[in-house]
Symmetry: C2
Subunit: 406 residues, 2 copies
Amino acid sequence: MGVIVQKYGGTSVADLDRIRHVADRVIRTARQGHALVVIVSAMAGVTDGLIALARRVDPEPDKRELDALLATGEQTTAALLAMTLRARGVPAQSLLGFQVEVRTDFCYGNARIQDIGVERMRRLLDQGVIVVVAGFQGCDPEGNITTLGRGGSDTSAVAIAAALRADCCEIYTDVPGVFTADPNLVPRARKLERISYEEMLEMASIGAKVLQIRSVEFAMKYRVPVHVRSTFSDEEGTMVVAEENGMERVVVSAVTMSKTDARITLKNVPDRPGIAARIFTPVAEAGICVDMIIQNTRASGATDLTFTVPRADYRKALAIERQVAAEIGAEEVLGDESIAKVSITGVGMRSHPGVAARMFATLAREGINILMISTSEIRISCVIEQKYAELAVQSLHSAFGLDAPA
Amino acid sequence: MGVIVQKYGGTSVADLDRIRHVADRVIRTARQGHALVVIVSAMAGVTDGLIALARRVDPEPDKRELDALLATGEQTTAALLAMTLRARGVPAQSLLGFQVEVRTDFCYGNARIQDIGVERMRRLLDQGVIVVVAGFQGCDPEGNITTLGRGGSDTSAVAIAAALRADCCEIYTDVPGVFTADPNLVPRARKLERISYEEMLEMASIGAKVLQIRSVEFAMKYRVPVHVRSTFSDEEGTMVVAEENGMERVVVSAVTMSKTDARITLKNVPDRPGIAARIFTPVAEAGICVDMIIQNTRASGATDLTFTVPRADYRKALAIERQVAAEIGAEEVLGDESIAKVSITGVGMRSHPGVAARMFATLAREGINILMISTSEIRISCVIEQKYAELAVQSLHSAFGLDAPA
């Protein structure tokens, strides 16, 4: 019997009525003869509420304790959904991260799954029990609760689907699928029927909020077919699958934008060997991910060094770099939180030259200055001033022929 | 270095301000050179809110899932207190039931502690870390979350104190100690300086809400000195200790009352061997605790059988007994939820005859009909109509000379 994994996001389980609606869908799928594992997020707003509560205790709350606090959100939903299913006479059981077991590293707040125990889930599935798993959470080797970062329930779902060799991992969300751009920004954005893991990975890494990036990595690595679809309709969503020959060969599949980064510049850094390590090691040790890095050599022989970090870690990174700058004799440290990153993604880029040039020309035509650029084989990202973010997305969406027919 | 265990109840941790106040007290105790384990309840109202939420899903929610849901309450408080302590630079770490490990049986909603792991706590205490434990929760041998029943955090605290051979277990609550009666009912009730485990045990078993009964059993068994005191003052509370010769030899130490039971009567039960087993086995199998039992033989040779159950299990027990009655040919099943149990307790009873007679006479003088009676060596309880409960407590408090000087 094939295993189906379903994941329901926060808006899908926002209250008891919606949880009942999820139970309907779960029961329908189970009656079709599937063994079923359901991963749930915290009810909409709960995680943010808990973070706000923790910040009232401490603006930088202890990460281990914050994870123990946040994990209650998914625990609540999992228990309520299992209860709802059992109240209808359907055998169901909730499992928490440590019970599954979702084993992670020690990186509180952004832990990585290392291994998933399948025995307990298999035993329950074999008994015809629907397994309801609290998403977003795991357990480190010492038994501490960890969380997987924003959107971590997606990763829980895909990792569990991979571990169980599920036929499909359905991600139920409040949007009907993956779009060529955020429909809130671009009214003429279109839903994609299929998208490759590679494109989804690039899109997830640059702010498409539809799937957490690590979930796509897992899906790609273990070839888990992922179906992104709406909880609120029966319409087919977007299949995230391996790249196929028959796949639509558009140059650019989607335009995305994020406002979650901040930029830090160290001015006039002495140009000595080992200086980059001096600058980036303390940031890495603080668990902060650096994204883009640019180094400009000055006429004097010194260099300016600019990089981006998640906005959540901005203050911490800034404090660290101020100390580093003093130690290495850099002139000053500048910071900027009002930036945005605009990206275009598409497997077709591999075989079409001139895509970058067209992107830069489009932005230039709108008078948008490019602050930083980074590229991959199938993606180009530009950091721009935040105020131009929406304009940039709209003009790129048109320029690359993605607008739906008017 | 001596270990002190402190337990803070729901009103003591009702909001972030109160949690800060608890942190003050914890830090003060730690600075006096004590190794410290702090057990916390859910914030006031949280457990009731979660139960109400679960009942909206299902009037009789699945017990395993309810426990997983309820455990989030203490998890939240533990994380917030540990965070608060760490924000002040004091090393602290929260531990949940499964992390401690508080190993229990499988009885969801009312699990019994079977064993407590001390290694992890000891290791943290040796490192100078304040251990903050989520009370009320444990973990069965299969790793499911269990809860210990109303007031279970008291039991968590005393059991942990016993396991760690703590010098003292301080129970911080919203009252200044143990009283001769509930001061809300009896304005002239007095605070007791000391009370024996035995008396406290009887009082806890009959509705004195100050300590969960199982916590007193643990304290008595392992001779843990328990100090019941107020979070909101530095005044000494009541010491619960082994009975001493020097202990005040009053006949009756306290009058208590509970409205948490319901009564079920099977009328005209055929008087055959094995019939009592037929009546009580299915109730026991449903995990319902029967308290008092009375059997009256009728002239016909049949009997009426009356017993009490927790009001929370009343409907379930009634349904079970209606089926049993049909099977065994009993005439009918009657139920009554509006009863109260009034009790007097005191080690002095052992050596003073006539206490029961005085209790019955006192109730008779007020026109209160006694529906059921049960006694132990140091306690007498009467079930009466609920509407007389307060009157009964007040008149007994006076009759046994417990009123404070006017």
